[in-house]
């Protein structure tokens, strides 16, 4: 199997594991952990595609030795960096919601939190 396909399969397994955790578990914090695993799976796919597929697109491009064309090789890594940023913001807000929920309901069980009202 090609190296690219191996990395993509690892990323798909991470994503599916995170999805299972996010959909099936009771504790809100573990649901957030599942979402983080999904983010990580997507990041691995981004970086793998940027490593193996994007350079090949330069072959068809005649002016591909210029700096701006060469920079496109790293586009996937930039996407991954933005995903990491968004994940950090998401986890900060998500855990703040968890703490607010715990303060008002004394629970972190998602089946007890079926309403967003106080």
């Amino acid at each position: 199997m090609e190296p690219l396909q191996r990395f993509l399969i690892v990323s798909a397994v991470l994503f599916a594991t995170g999805l299972y955790g996010a959909l099936s578990l009771r504790n809100v914090v573990v649901v957030l952990m599942g979402i983080e695993l999904m983010f990580n799976g997507v990041n691995v796919a981004m970086v793998a595609l940027s490593r193996y597929v994007v350079p090949a697109t330069l072959a068809a491009n005649p002016g591909s030795a210029t700096d701006s064309a060469l920079r496109t090789v790293l586009t996937g890594q930039v996407f991954a960096a933005f995903i990491i940023t968004v994940a950090a913001a998401e986890v900060a807000v998500g855990l703040a919601i968890v703490l607010a929920l715990y303060r008002s309901r004394e629970t972190v069980d998602i089946t007890d939190a079926s309403s967003m009202k106080q």
Binding site: A16, R26, N43, V47, L58, A89, Y102
Partner: protein
């Protein structure tokens, strides 16, 4: 994949990352799940190193394994519901089926797609040299990309982080 060393490194890192990820969603103790999450993050950092993304590997260790996991562990400590554990809801069979079907669809697509890979489409000499330069000096080129093509998203990310900090403070404020 290149050398024997890379081959061994790939399998070690993959087993660590995937095994830890599976333990995160199966272990009953929430605190242990958080510790396995750190291991999974470190495994993904290893995958980044194998993919020529050393800068992202460092970012992964600092932000995910450092900051995010600490936040999660704090949240677990503050919501002292650890004893009730991490049991699945009634949706578990449905979630298992959905994840398995999605994984099967992913794997089928990945295996069936005719990827246009670098090995099959050789680059012109100048381009190949340029690409090698980019891989050898990734942070500098990443900086160039962020400050030129991705300047607007970069600034938007700063605003997003500010909004997230303010939002988190508003949510946990004592009334």
């Amino acid at each position: 994949m290149g050398t024997l060393f890379q081959e061994i490194a790939f399998w070690v890192v993959t087993v660590v990352a995937v095994g830890a990820a599976l333990l995160v969603v199966t272990v009953r103790d929430v605190f242990r799940a958080a510790l396995f999450l750190v291991v999974a993050f470190l495994g993904v950092a290893g995958l980044f190193v194998l993919l020529n993304a050393e800068f992202l590997a460092v970012v992964q260790v600092l932000i995910y394994a450092g900051a995010i996991s600490i936040l999660i562990i704090f949240a677990i400590m503050l919501t002292q519901d650890v004893q009730r554990g991490n049991s699945p809801t009634a949706l578990r069979p449905l979630a298992l089926t959905a994840s398995a079907l999605l994984l099967a669809a992913f794997v089928y697509t990945i295996v069936q797609t005719d990827w246009r890979l670098l090995e099959e489409t050789p680059l012109a000499a100048a381009t190949a040299q340029g690409v090698t330069q980019v891989w050898q000096d990734t942070p500098r080129w990443l900086g160039g990309l962020l400050m030129r093509e991705f300047l607007l998203p970069f600034e938007a990310a700063a605003v997003l982080l500010l909004a997230a900090v303010v939002g988190a403070l508003v949510l946990v404020r004592e009334r």
